[in-house]
């Protein structure tokens, strides 16, 4: 099997790292080799956060080669766009509608681009695009903090992962605090069902 490459892009605080860890643990459960790259520390504080998950029989580099992503999971559209160099026409891009305007530019004449503009730019790379209102679904599940799990549900529904959906659910049970488990499983299902429809 050729390796399967996922780029998760978002803003610090959106739960990018937990989502990538869930993918990584699930891949190990299914007997794969895996590399998950993370960025901690200063870069995490409200800044752009990106994590790469590479699943396969032989994987060495923790980071994805340009043009070689199978999936880009965009927690925020501007951040999805920032990572499009990893995309090619075969790449599936899933983006959440939640926009977070970078601070410090709030009063500048440069405006945060419209959602449609960002989608048009993403289409330069690929037509395989799924848009989901992960924040809204997360609120429905019980809290905005479950938006990362909504997105994992959406990804699972796309039938591209080399990981079974049941394994993802099992891993969520292992990695999420018991008090929040029900909420997160609900979030996963909401993401899953919304895309299935």
């Amino acid at each position: 099997m050729k390796e399967f490459n996922i780029v998760l892009a978002g803003v610090g605080g959106q739960g990018v790292l937990l989502a990538s860890q869930i993918l990584g643990v699930s891949a190990v459960k299914e007997g794969f080799n895996v590399r998950v790259s993370e960025i901690h520390g200063m870069a995490q504080r409200g800044g752009a956060v990106v994590s790469h998950v590479r699943i396969g029989e032989k994987v060495y580099s923790p980071t994805v080669l340009e043009g070689d992503a199978d999936v880009i999971l965009g927690f925020e559209p501007l951040e999805a766009l920032r990572n499009m160099k990893y995309a090619s026409q075969k790449t599936l891009v899933i983006i959440s509608k939640e926009t977070i305007v970078p601070t410090g530019f709030s009063l500048e004449p440069v405006q945060y681009p419209s959602f449609d503009e960002m989608v048009a730019k993403i289409r330069i790379f690929t037509e395989k695009l799924v848009v989901i209102d992960a924040l809204e679904l997360a609120r429905k599940a019980g809290s905005p903090i479950t938006r990362n799990i909504v997105l994992l549900g959406a990804l699972a529904a796309c039938n591209v992962l080399p990981i079974r959906t049941e394994t993802l659910r099992e891993t969520i049970k292992e990695l999420v605090r018991p008090a929040y488990l029900e909420m997160n499983l609900k979030a996963f299902n909401l993401g899953y069902e919304t895309v299935k429809k």
């Binding site: 605080g13 860890q21 990584g24 643990v25 891949a27 190990v28 080799n33 895996v34 590399r35 998950v36 790259s37 993370e38 960025i39 901690h40 520390g41 200063m42 870069a43 995490q44 504080r45 409200g46 800044g47 752009a48 060495y60 580099s61 923790p62 980071t63 080669l65 340009e66 043009g67 501007l78 951040e79 766009l81 920032r82 499009m84 160099k85 090619s88 977070i100 305007v101 970078p102 601070t103 410090g104 530019f105 709030s106 009063l107 440069v110 945060y112 681009p113 503009e117 960002m118 730019k121 993403i122 330069i124 790379f125 924040l135 905005p144 292992e174 990695l175 605090r177 008090a179 488990l181």
Partner: protein
């Protein structure tokens, strides 16, 4: 729920689990009977100590967050001199702080395994520089190992224990961000309970480094390193991992080795690869033999040409016919800065060998340039609710932005972002105090130094004593958020809690300042804006050094605590009938939860944690708690 501590304590050898490189090193501690672990937190090394702290009690390990890296190295040195296995972990610049102890510790050596982990940060993801700490092994004359994966990170702890005890020397394990912060599957080994009882056997000639003893011990060290060279020749980590038919060989190590494997594959190269896992001392004979079998050798390493200098010297003396490629002849293909990637190594190898690129990167770049034309930068910023934002607002309001502000290492370095823009000089831990002294001596304007609580204990004390003693004149503001926030909320002497949750003695920053002879010392909550403004005005008027402690807990701790207690996090709300859309809130404090939208301000309630600083700066009292409650 499977917690990290469960994985680290997992008893069944052979089990395969996903671990971060740093967590794998922590597991290595438990599998090798290491009894003492000391550290000062710093990205990308922090999770080593953090992971050990989670399991220290159950595993019978003594773990501490030391006040700084020098102390961490010394505490471990004392334990290892008493025959107990130790591991010390720190980020690359931490070794600078510890270097004084380390250089001479190499002379006296150890009586049980001593592992020093240095985590380097190519590309400065979370650091003030990207120095290459492999040179410390060369400088101190210490053996060094470099893992390329989380599995190796764990395994090399065991190998380092073996080397360290064979040589009676500290052994360095050098990682980089891409090793420390990569998760990968790790096959667990058997846990070895530490059961060594420390015993200090006097040996003045060995352990007391007065000149007469040092001269002898230096020679002892050099003899040990000759033994180390023989270990390196036989090391299973210095290995030809691939034999190709072409006359080209690649030598690589650490993170770069991973990119080499993938690049060679993508380029379809039939080359040999010598992978170096023990990089000090180098396996000279193995390298010479490898060079003899090839016409051309390509050296792929991040940062400094550490391998290249040594290998070029070997080639000149032993294999003059071989052509060496690397940074010296291709500085653009193998830059000395930042980190490598598979793409860079593909481009470098194809450039050196004149081979066509297998991927049209230029096309990707063109498309990306077109797509990214609308991108806005998103630098890291202070979190919503961060008390530093309040502190910086107070400093700016009092000084009108005219004071020169020296700053320090921590989240508060993010204060340089607009609109607060506090921070005019930053070099290293504790330097805000020393640089403020120098600046205040020679300029007319007021000087304000800011430093974090953990950083204060780490490196500010000599600077503060110096400033008081030498009659310097500035205000030192300690931004006390009651934790080491940037690196993951570790405790420090000012919190009164030790690394393993055992209560320790709480040392108050204000008491320390008074003890250092500072005459003007005050503590204030920066969210009490008016009071903080008043106190800072007075402090600036004070002749000499004034110390203010701006104390309010880190916003991430406050929200985590509320979530734990299932208390609601009530955001702020804008009263639309009062708001004049003057934008003062955004202009003055630049909180990420305040978002301009069609000429009005909107509060992003998914980000806002209700600190209410915006309400305090609003000229029209147009911001209130969303539930109508009082401001805290």
């Amino acid at each position: 729920m499977v917690r990290l501590e469960d994985l680290l304590l997992e008893g069944s050898p052979g089990k395969r689990v996903l671990l971060l490189g740093n967590e794998a090193i922590a597991r290595g501690v438990l599998e090798n009977g290491i009894e003492v672990v000391t550290t000062y937190p710093g990205t990308p090394a922090s999770e080593i100590g953090d992971s050990v702290s989670l399991v220290a009690k159950d595993a019978g390990v003594y773990m501490e967050y030391s006040a700084n890296e020098k102390v961490a190295v010394e505490v471990a040195a004392g334990a290892a001199a008493s025959g107990v296995r130790v591991l010390v972990a720190m980020k690359h610049v931490g070794v600078n702080v510890a270097a004084d102890a380390l250089m001479t510790l190499a002379y006296v050596g150890v009586r049980a395994a001593y592992i020093l982990v240095t985590a380097d940060d190519p590309n400065c993801y979370s650091s003030q520089n990207e120095q290459d700490n492999r040179y410390y092994a060369l400088l101190a004359n210490l053996p060094m190992l470099e893992p390329s994966s989380p599995q190796e990170a764990k395994d090399m702890v065991g190998y380092a224990v073996e080397i360290s005890e064979k040589l009676e020397l500290p052994c360095i394990i050098r990682t980089t961000t891409r090793i420390s912060h990569t998760r990968g599957p790790v096959t667990l080994g058997k846990i070895l309970k530490p059961n060594l009882k420390g015993k200090f056997i006097r040996d003045v000639k060995r352990f007391v480094m007065v000149p007469a003893n040092s001269r002898i011990q230096h020679r002892v060290l050099l003899e040990k390193m000759e033994k180390a060279a023989r270990i390196s020749e036989e090391s299973p980590y210095n290995l030809i991992v691939r034999e190709g038919k072409s006359r080209v060989g690649i030598i690589s190590s650490s993170a770069a080795y991973n990119y080499v494997l993938e690049a060679v594959d993508k380029l379809g190269l039939d080359v040999s690869i010598l992978r170096l896992g023990m990089t000090h001392p180098l396996p000279k004979n193995k390298i010479i033999e490898f060079m003899k079998k090839h016409d051309r050798i390509i050296i792929v390493e991040e940062l400094e040409p550490y391998l290249e200098f040594q290998i070029r010297a070997l080639a000149k003396d032993y294999v003059p016919s071989v052509q060496i490629h690397g940074r010296a002849d291709h500085p653009k293909l193998f830059p000395k800065y930042s980190e490598f990637s598979t793409r860079m190594v593909i481009e470098a190898l194809s450039g050196v060998l004149g081979k066509k690129l297998p991927i049209d990167f230029e096309r990707i770049d063109r498309k990306y340039a077109e797509a990214s034309s609308i991108l806005l930068p998103r630098p890291p910023i202070l979190c919503p609710g961060c008390p530093h934002r309040a502190s910086f607002y107070v400093i700016k309001r009092v000084t009108g932005g005219k004071a020169i502000c020296t700053t320090d290492i921590g989240c508060y370095a993010l204060g340089i972002q607009p609109p607060l823009q506090i921070g005019d000089m930053l070099i290293c831990m504790g330097a805000s105090v020393g640089t403020a002294s120098g600046i205040s001596k020679v300029i007319e304007e007021n000087v304000v130094a800011v430093i974090g609580d953990s950083t204060f204990f780490h490196a500010a004390l000599p600077g503060l004593v110096n400033a008081v003693y030498n009659n310097h004149n500035f205000v030192l503001i300690v931004l006390d958020n009651l934790t080491t926030a940037m690196t993951g909320h570790q405790p420090h002497p000012g919190t009164g809690m030790t690394g393993t949750g055992v209560p320790g003695k709480r040392i108050l920053i204000e008491d320390v300042a008074k003890g250092c002879g500072v005459e003007y010392v005050k503590v204030v909550n920066p969210f009490d804006v008016d009071e903080a403004v008043q106190v800072l005005r007075e402090a600036i008027q004070h002749k000499g050094v004034a110390v203010l402690v701006f104390r309010a807990p880190c916003a991430l701790l406050v929200t985590a605590e509320k979530r734990r207690k299932a208390e609601p996090i009530v955001p702020a709300k804008i009263l639309s009938e009062e708001c004049t859309s003057c934008m003062a809130c955004i202009r003055l404090i630049g909180c990420p939860a305040l978002v301009p939208s069609n000429g009005k301000v909107v509060i992003n309630d998914a980000l806002c944690v209700g600190c209410m600083l915006c309400a305090k700066v609003c000229p029209y009292n147009a911001i209130v708690k969303a539930d109508g409650g009082e401001h805290s």
